[in-house]
Symmetry: C2
Subunit: 326 residues, 2 copies
């Protein structure tokens, strides 16, 4: 089978590999499409190794496709099912072996290629908002990097749950597109901004936010604390804006805030299974009805995968970049 | 009635005041003893105003005593009951009016003066460990300032729940006394220490702690992150060591940690009621059996209240300073 591979740090190539065999409770999926993620760029740069039980040199953490074969302990799925799901790595390939419990049925009416853009972004957003963030319907959310895959997903989920959604981005174009998806409060962040300026920019939502989804980190944490309502929750999902952050613990304490750090890729199998099944149960019907849809900047064929990576790196995308495999 | 009063910032005097009347669901308590808290020092310094519905110039957030009269909507307590509990202020007085739901019955066998040292420390520690910290029996705890009122309470609760308890203090004497209470791992913190040194000092417990009770803040946060196990919870209860803290968000995220800020004094009435009743239900039997006991550095009479405040300020106390009122 054809695969994307990282033969060494910083190099990205197409290669031929033997088709994996589904063992235990795995299923073999013929991949239709695989979404790209920032984690793929980090892996390419050598800084984000996949879990030990995943292919080490084939990137790809999510996929959509058709079940081709069933492992001996798999019970729920059958050959021919349209599925999407998560793997520790190896999804950017014609076939991938995935744990059955990390797959969900693709709702009717959702195109299989577009479905490749769903799992990472929507499972992460759903888990962050509800499991980590404790969000309840109708509350207020702030999403940093609202134009990202996770951002556009969280925005749509928030609107589907009657939440008031504020979002930040560095470009007015991304914010305008987010407003088309229902964004209530758009906050443009200029380049070269410090913590004090970020705090000032939070003025329209200061003290009002029940759950912050922070995909930036660094100085944004100070802004999160400012934006948060009493007993608000800040969910830290990425630190692309800096690993080190300053926080005013006195304010944090007086507002009785919660900061949670979370990642999806390195969770134990059972916890990942729970996140996938929570997502499928809660959001499946919303995909079926069209209330949710993956926001896809572009679909790129496997042959042009270098372009897809280049585009992702540009930070100019709104929503996801999807690799069409078949 | 005689009261301690703060007539102006930094001044502390004894004065005469009219006896309060219990309204609504309040009870009037003849105070036997009132524990001193660091919050009293902050209030004296002008930086920690009591809630609006509490006496503004009479300090005291906890008390033990005997019910003297019942408000019209109070249902559970009766005249003569031995009670201890929380108020927003006003406890350092011969009588205090307290919300019935913020009082609990003092277990038989617990001396009423010693009981005055219990509420703030044990309710705070219990709420921090279980409600905020999500601690389960048998897990590992790290307590900063283990010799404080909250620290010695959390240590005893931890040992009663079969937890492994590590603790820090600035003096070997305090650590030795904490070891007598069952402290498993004692970590002495030198004066003038920075974040890097604090991280280094966490080596004996690095990566092993399920719940950190941080009563210091500032640079200690970096040490908390180092000490925490995967999915650990850091509960921030005080920032005496500094309001501003640096945190490595990448590590925080990869360990999937939670940081919670919490305070007791400014909670809404119903939430405070819940904390008090959780404490009474869970710890009442342990006080009755003698498994828990308030750690009291000294009991000072009302006439010598200036000495009590001076002693608290000295930071040389192990456990609580209690003002004996009657």
């Amino acid at each position: 089978m054809r695969v994307v591979t990282i033969p060494s740090k910083g190099r990205l190539e197409l290669a031929e590999r033997p088709k994996p065999k589904p063992v235990d409770d795995q299923v073999l999926v013929r991949v239709a499409a695989a979404g790209l993620n920032r984690g793929d760029l980090w892996q390419l740069a050598g800084g984000y190794p996949p879990p030990a039980d995943a292919p080490q040199d084939i990137p790809g953490m999510e996929f959509a496709g058709t079940v081709e074969a069933i492992g001996p302990a798999a019970k729920r799925l059958k050959v021919g099912d349209r599925v999407y799901g998560l793997v520790g790595g190896g999804a950017q390939a014609e076939f991938v072996a995935a744990v059955e419990g990390h797959c969900a049925i693709v709702p009717d009416g959702l195109d299989l290629v577009m479905a490749g853009a769903v799992p990472e972004a929507f499972i992460t957003a759903h888990d962050a908002l509800f499991t980590s963030g404790g969000l309840r319907d109708g509350q207020s959310i702030l999403i940093h990097a609202v134009g990202s895959g996770v951002g556009t997903s969280a925005l749509q989920i928030g609107k589907a749950k009657r939440c008031k959604v504020a979002g930040t981005a560095r470009s007015p174009e991304k914010l305008a597109r987010a407003q088309e998806l229902g964004l209530d409060t758009a906050i443009e962040i200029p380049r070269e901004v410090d913590a004090a300026q970020l705090i000032e920019l939070m003025r329209p939502v200061a003290g009002s936010i029940n759950a912050v989804l922070d995909l930036v980190g660094g100085d944004y944490l100070a802004a999160d604390v400012e934006a948060a309502a009493r007993r608000g929750v800040i969910v830290m999902l990425s630190t692309i804006g800096g690993d080190l952050a300053k926080v005013n613990l006195r304010t944090f304490m007086n507002k009785r805030l919660t900061l949670r750090g979370t990642t999806l890729r390195h969770r134990p199998k059972a916890e990942k299974e729970e996140a996938v099944s929570d997502f499928a149960r809660d959001l499946g019907p919303l995909f079926a009805s069209g209330a949710l849809r993956p926001v896809v900047e572009t679909v790129v064929s496997l042959d042009n995968m270098l372009d897809a990576y280049e585009l992702l790196r540009s930070d100019k995308t709104f929503g996801k970049v999807v690799l069409k495999i078949v």
